[in-house]
């Protein structure tokens, strides 16, 4: 019940295309859903996060869509650029204790 399932494991997108990564969770107590971006040799960095009181959050080219009833959330990267090539992790937590449960990661490659 603590798991967060992430798909796909890897993704190749043409430059300018839309990258979509999906996550699903089981624990209905989770109320904080961040996405992290990790470049090789670096620690993860927070990209964007959402609370369940909204169904969508947009920051620049990055959008989180959240479906509370389906217990799913997704990351959309619009106009994907080669610099977006990285591993993306979704996570979930109970906001008050911030103990993140992480997905397995998606390796995204943007082809020029």
């Amino acid at each position: 019940q603590q798991q967060v399932k992430q798909s796909p494991q890897s993704l190749i997108v043409q430059k300018g295309g839309i990258s979509i990564i999906n996550c699903a969770y089981e624990n209905t107590a989770f109320d904080y859903f961040p996405w992290y971006q990790q470049f090789p040799g670096k620690g993860p960095a927070l990209l964007i996060a959402i609370r369940p009181d909204v169904s969508e959050k947009k920051e620049g080219r990055f959008t989180i869509s959240f479906n509370k009833s389906a217990k799913q959330f997704s990351l959309h990267i619009m106009d994907s650029q080669p610099g977006d090539s990285a591993t993306y992790f979704c996570a979930a937590a109970i906001y008050s204790n911030y103990q993140l449960i992480w997905g397995a990661g998606t390796k995204l490659i943007i082809k020029p």
């Binding site: 040799g41 620690g43 996060a49 204790n97 992480w102 990661g105």
Partner: protein, 115 residues
Amino acid sequence: EAGVAQSPRYKIIEKRQSVAFWCNPISGHATLYWYQQILGQGPKLLIQFQNNGVVDDSQLPKDRFSAERLKGVDSTLKIQPAKLEDSAVYLCASSAQTGKNTEAFFGQGTRLTVV
């Protein structure tokens, strides 16, 4: 603002040896986390400190792993004795956890290889 500092960056040891990692969190951050990230997986929380007290160490293999955070600032994570399956990147993160600002900032990690 300086980020989370970790050392060493890389470490190679033989199984059954001991190893220690060091973390200096962002100044003023009360909460410190140690994560283990095995290649191809998401990070797994090992231990969470609030100041110098342990909040959660339920996933820390206490027969071989230990961690401390003296004076509520720097922290060390030790493995003794190491096993092959301990090969991973060990990430330290810190957060302010004041009000709504609970974002955790990560260091670059220490890549441990046990041979």
